[in-house]
């Protein structure tokens, strides 16, 4: 009798999805093993970090979060360009915060104009992230799909409530759909099936599992991704074999632990470094859990995470 091999028999593989167009287009996904388990499988496309850019000037950012962008914070196009030119962004994630019905509730066309300007100004892949309000996103993301024709952008979050409207336009204009469900393997699978039935091809789906911040439900996202990956890679669950994108930045930076200054609570230490490490550690955890792309805010968190990705990939 032979000793049981402590290796996993991977029977599935994550699908490769291209985002962007032209020379800087990227492939995400494609892995045939658990994240960074390179002794028994391959990750042809190392996980990526996307820099977030807001579509309007953020009102409540910490000064240490604003500092790297203070010269461009009022101009989404300049902001995106700075991320690319100065901080080496490989992907831009445009957050359509101003459209939120619970906030500024800007008109669809005003917001779409910003999206178009950013999309036209950059050459790296673009993720466009809506408001997570199903109705507003249905109208907004449809138009986003339209004005970004030919750019192969990733648009979401697309939910069970608006997948038909957004999905149909994404198919029409060749965009990638971010299939979004609230931290649940079965719901994720179900929405992917619905998108498939609608006609969205496998190469045009990425998954948003819903992201919890460090200390605020990170473990739920972590475990749901691990379960997704287990089903996808070892149980041949084809409808979970999609790359995962985690919209992390805001989940970390909105917490009080990134807002308190050292003088408010000395044992929490330097607020700037603490916030950067909170974002970086949350991102690293999500990457180890199975994320293919993490959307982040601070250039220093990003470079720390990129460095560790590079080391783990060897």
């Amino acid at each position: 009798m032979v000793f049981e091999i402590p290796k996993i028999n991977y029977t599935g593989k994550i699908k490769e999805v291209s985002i962007g167009a032209g020379p800087k287009a990227l492939k995400i996904g494609g892995e045939g093993c658990y994240p960074f388990y390179l002794f028994e499988g391959e990750m042809p496309n190392p996980p990526k970090v996307a820099f977030e850019v807001w579509d309007h000037t953020p009102q409540d950012w910490q000064e240490w979060a604003l500092q790297p962008f203070k010269d461009v914070i009022h101009d989404p196009v300049a902001w995106a360009k700075k991320c690319i030119d100065v901080y080496g962004a490989e992907i831009i994630a445009l957050q359509l915060k101003s459209a939120d019905p619970n906030g500024l509730n800007k008109d669809v066309e005003d917001v779409v104009a910003v999206v178009k300007n950013v999309a036209d100004a950059i050459d790296v892949p673009l993720i466009v992230w809506g408001t997570a309000n199903d109705e507003k996103d249905a109208a907004l993301l449809r138009r986003v799909a339209e004005v970004c024709e030919g750019k192969n952008v990733a648009i979401g979050p697309v939910s069970e409530k608006n997948y038909k409207q957004v999905g149909a336009m994404a198919i029409g204009y060749g965009q990638v759909v971010l299939s979004s469900t609230p931290i649940d393997v079965n719901l994720a699978k179900q929405l992917n099936i619905l998108l498939g039935n609608l006609g969205v091809s496998d190469e045009k789906i990425a998954v948003d599992p819903t992201t919890g911040g460090l200390g605020y439900g990170l473990e739920y996202s972590y475990s749901v991704m691990e379960r997704d990956r287990m089903a996808a890679l070892t149980q041949e669950d084809a409808k979970l074999q999609y790359p995962i994108i985690c919209n992390l930045a805001h989940e970390v930076w909105k917490t009080k632990e990134t807002r308190l200054k050292k003088e408010d609570d000395p044992k929490l230490g330097d607020e700037r470094k603490r916030s950067i490490l909170m974002e970086a550690i949350a991102a690293m955890s999500l990457l180890i859990g199975g994320a293919d792309v993490v959307i982040m805010r601070h250039p220093e968190s990003v470079s720390l995470v990129k460095e560790i990705i590079k080391e783990l990939m060897g």
């Binding site: 402590p6 619970n102 475990s223 009080k256 044992k267 230490g269 690293m284 955890s285 460095e307 783990l312």
Partner: protein, 475 residues
């Protein structure tokens, strides 16, 4: 960055080693089968174990569904053999005593969702014999200072790693000093005579002895035995560790902690996975022990060191030794450790009660929610963000979220109404208005009946919209 070629080489070595352990005979390391266990039982079928026959009991033992203690008639000899075989695949090792005792190992799964991770990794701060008093005191005081209350738990680093680098007198001084502190201790020296002296002083604190190597393992094994302290085993790579563990097991030592000496990030990370795999999937006994890792020796950049440590929190370290830490670095690691080691089978709860946020007064709004701790954190965080002074009444829903608690009949009109009356909020505010979660809008009618003098307002469904809602209410 590591040189690419050397990384590839190590990668090959790892695969080669996996092949090798995979070819070992199953019987060498596998736990006993039901039949093998049956042979060691009294075979009286007395039924006192609550199983009808000894065979049924044996099968249950083999499946890990029964405890050997349930059999009152098993002979001591058989008990010895069986407890060896039925021991958990990764030994639980205890370092230290009292309040700061650290339990590591004892894990049974590769992924937390398969059951839970039991024993969170201990964080240690390095203190060296080359450091002056000022630095040493500062490091001890960091362990006292960096403690954080959260969900009824205290998050804190637990250990000091005292390292001898040639100054024996100073090292012994440090050991004496550490014995007067509550923290658990790791003694780091490769010299048996120095270690003996240190153990003589600190044995009552049950320190971790670091480390037995290929050169000193006989002397260190004897020390660990004499002083009844856990022993770290440091080999150059997986194979040497395995052979050292077997030798030390042969000396009767069971409380071991593994260090593979690997300080490259990629290989170090992969080895943690391989060790856990070999112990759980391969039942490979030499790796059935918790591990110790040294981010302190993997980079000179404290920010990067913190991130390396986070990789080991996720993947399987037992002890994580840091070159140093500050509040800004240890706090995020403690949060991550809390998240990863939270039992996914049991919701975390917040204590029922009234939580004042942003210094509320008798005119401030009153919100009510459930005691699922994640809900509490998010809701209280958003109220804080709004900067509007408010009272948050947290009702015990047994850790269920608002929707689930509503569906389970726990967050319903009668219950919420009774809670509002008795929780004491009426003593704190002059008004009679309460905001209920948007997801509980369905309880509005019942709650109005239960609280006839109150105005019930339905808040937003998503916590993120609370600040806007509160601002709107205010204006």
């Amino acid at each position: 960055m590591e040189d690419l070629s050397s990384n590839n080489e190590s990668g090959c070595l790892l695969s080669h080693f996996l092949e090798k352990i995979s070819k070992r005979k199953r019987g060498d390391y596998m736990a006993l089968t039901g039949i093998q266990i049956f042979k060691l039982l009294p075979k009286t079928n007395c039924g006192e174990c609550k199983y009808p026959t000894c065979l049924a009991f044996a099968m249950a033992l083999a499946a890990g569904k029964a405890e050997l203690d349930a059999c009152p008639h098993v002979t001591p000899a058989a008990r010895g053999q069986l407890s060896e075989a039925s021991a958990p695949p990764i030994r639980q090792v205890v370092i230290g005593t009292g309040d700061y005792e650290v339990k590591i190992g004892g894990e049974t799964v590769l992924f937390r969702h398969e059951k839970t991770f039991f024993n969170k990794p201990g964080f240690a701060i390095l203190i060296m014999d080359s450091m002056d008093d000022g630095e040493v005191n500062k490091r001890f005081s960091k362990l006292a200072q960096f403690q954080y209350e959260r969900v009824g738990l205290t998050l804190r680093p637990e250990l000091v790693a005292l390292k001898e680098t040639g100054n024996k007198e100073r090292f012994i001084e440090l050991v004496k000093k550490a014995c007067n502190e509550p923290y658990s201790i790791i003694l780091m020296s490769y010299d048996p005579s120095i270690m003996k002296e240190a153990l003589e002083i600190s044995k009552g604190k049950k320190p971790l002895i670091y480390a037995a190597t290929i050169d000193n393992h006989e002397a260190f094994g004897a020390l660990a035995k004499d002083y009844a302290c856990p022993l770290a085993v440091k080999g150059e790579g997986l194979e040497e560790v395995a052979s050292l563990v077997e030798k030390l097991n042969g000396m009767g030592l069971k409380d071991l902690v593994i260090d593979t000496s690997t300080r490259a990030i990629k290989e170090g990370f992969q080895e943690q996975i391989i060790i856990r795999r070999a112990a759980l999937m391969g039942k490979y006994k030499p790796f059935g022990f918790p591990t110790i890792v040294f981010p302190s020796e993997m980079t000179d950049n404290p920010m990067k060191e913190t991130l390396i440590a986070s990789c080991f929190v996720a993947k399987y370290a037992g002890i994580i030794v840091m070159s140093d830490f500050e509040g800004e670095s240890i706090f995020p690691l403690l949060l991550q450790r809390l998240n990863i080691y939270t039992d996914p089978q049991r919701p975390m709860t917040t204590q029922e009660g009234i939580y004042p946020i942003n210094n509320p007064d008798e005119k401030s709004p009153v919100l009510v929610t459930c005691n699922f701790s994640l809900t509490y954190f998010i809701v209280s965080g958003e109220i804080e963000n709004s900067r509007i002074p408010s009272w948050l009444c947290v009702m015990d829903t047994e850790g269920l979220s608002v929707m689930t608690a509503w569906a389970a009949g726990k967050f319903v009109g009668d219950a919420v109404g009774a809670f509002i009356k008795k929780c004491g909020i009426t003593d704190k505010v002059q008004h009679k208005k309460v905001i209920i979660p948007g997801y509980a809008a369905a309880i509005l009618g019942d709650l109005e009946e239960e609280l006839p003098e109150w105005e019930i307002l339905v808040g937003p469904r998503e916590a993120a919209h609370i600040p806007a809602y509160l601002r709107m209410q205010k204006s």
